[in-house]
Amino acid sequence: MAALTDLTLAEAAAGLAAGDFTSIELTDASLAAMEAGRALNAFITETPELARARAAESDARRGRGETRGPLDGVPVAIKDLFCTEGVLTTAGSHILDGFTPTYESTVSQNLRNAGAVMIGKTNLDEFAMGSSNATSYYGPVINPWRADDGKDRVPGGSSGGSASSVAARICFGATGTDTGGSIRQPGSFCGIVGMKPTYGRCSRWGIVAFASSLDQAGPMTRTVRDAALMLQGMAGHDPKDSTSTPVDLPDFAAALTGDIRGMKIGIPKEYRLDGMPEEIEALWRQGVEWLEAAGAETREVSLPHTKYALPTYYIIAPAEASSNLARYDGVRYGLRVPGDSLDEMYENTRGAGFGAEVRRRVLIGTYVLSAGYYDAYYIKAQRVRSLIARDFDRAFEEVDALLTPTAPSAAFALGEKMDDPIAMYLNDVFTVPSSLAGLPAISVPAGLSREGLPLGLQIITPAFDEERVFRVGEVLETASSFDTRLRGA
């Protein structure tokens, strides 16, 4: 039999149900893999005792004939942006030094209630601001995939630790959060499935906020089916979050019929960027063929305001962040650097507590909201955001889903693009528009770059049509028969 950690989440669930192994065995396998994979720096906090305790509870439940569904007893990792009761929560930032919440985020609580076993908290870009996981106060995460040149690659970001730990088969799934691509881009870089649900599908309660109108939690797994199972355990209306949508949760896995015959798939022409690597274009063309072969119709559609999505995002997200991060002031939790006056204490604490990228974005956000600039920047961006959302509405009058690349390149080397913020921001060029419109989207690993690194394709659908996202995603997955095993592993 293959190693337990090689199983998919669905296979692990089936094995637990069949009594082939226990949750403790599965959890110990994951904990061992976590230890063996420490060089990846994927975890900020490991929680082995907690994991074994929860695994034992799961086994006991199962022994009594009770089970809470497919996630019961399955080891997962939680991005360190989710507050976890009694477990250090850092958001990858120095400013949250020592912060141990007395509460559990709704999403991680939902997973706990479903019986999932948390093995640790994964590394991330500081406050989820980044596309390489290089802005973490706890150091960069390494992508477990090796390129031909042997240089370490970034896992993408901000959910870099989650992506890396799923790709390295340390856990069966991990939570991520996606504000402008933070689940999908690392999913693409690490050769795994990353799914961002519709804004409002998962509660934001207890997730350290970056940009409130964009932040959304989602699953990161090795298969589309696993993502469907995991989202089932994460999502649901939460009266503690005013932006959580009170809609029923469909059975996501039931949507995986493999049948997309007659479905209309749009290919947005504006996503064909100047200077896009040929291998990305080729993969995208390949994706079109796969979907057509499965019986879908494809056609070109237009999303005319696509090129304005990134600048729009880089006004709105920093503006919200500048306000959301005001609470980190050294008074109630986290780092405090003394000062002679209240203002000095604030300035010292926040000066020392925030890294360069966070500081940059908070200053940009403060600037675009300040007197005299608010209308020119923030209101303008919100108007363009309306136009971007309208583009999608019009496209979805013609088609059922959109197919695009996930990212404009494969994973780049550690240290690259760090001195050029805008080049870094361009990583999210294909993921940001659907974030601005609040739409569900998935990145499915579909091929390898010339250097042997994974590349993902993205499916986007209208709001609250995650079922279609999964269905089309699984068809792509099947057609590509992408091998998630790390090369050389």
């Binding site: 020592g98 912060f99 141990t100 509460y103 409002g200 109108s213 009266p239 005013s242 932006t243 949508t245 009170p246 305001h305 304005y308 600048p311 729009t312 880089y314 006004i315 500048s322 005001a326 002031d329 050294g330 008074v331 109630r332 939790y333 986290g334 780092l335 405090r336 003394p338 000062g339 002679d340 006056s341 209240l342 204490m345 604030y346 300035e347 926040r350 000066g351 925030f354 500081r359 940059r360 908070v362 200053l363 403060t366 600037y367 675009v368 300040s370 209101i379 303008k380 961006a381 919100q382 108007r383 363009v384 309306s386 959302a389 913020p421 805008i422 601005l436 419109a437 609040g438 709001a463």
Partner: protein, 95 residues
């Protein structure tokens, strides 16, 4: 429009982030680049377009007026850097 070091200093104070004077110039350049880049939105005709307030198309959920929370000072103060007699503390504020 260009952000100079002085503007960066003002913004940094508004955001209460201490920026060493030696960083101001470099930061001004970085911020200028980003601001210059986002200014391409000026090309977009947004006449008559409403600013988006939320992507969530639903009515605001309202809770009932019941006391359901609080009354746990130990949790409120659990992570406080320098709590004292049930209070948070800050350097003395002179009004």
């Amino acid at each position: 429009m260009a952000l100079d070091s002085n503007t960066v200093k003002k913004i940094a104070f508004l955001a209460r982030i201490k920026v060493p004077d030696s960083d101001l110039g470099g930061l001004a350049n970085e911020l200028n680049n980003i601001i210059g880049w986002v200014e391409q939105l000026g090309e977009v005709n947004t006449e008559g377009v409403e600013p988006m307030t939320s992507v969530a198309e639903m009515s605001l959920y309202k809770r009932a007026d019941e006391v359901t929370d609080g009354a746990y000072p130990e949790r409120v103060l659990a992570n406080a850097p320098e709590p004292e007699k049930g209070f948070y503390t800050v350097p003395k504020v002179v009004e």
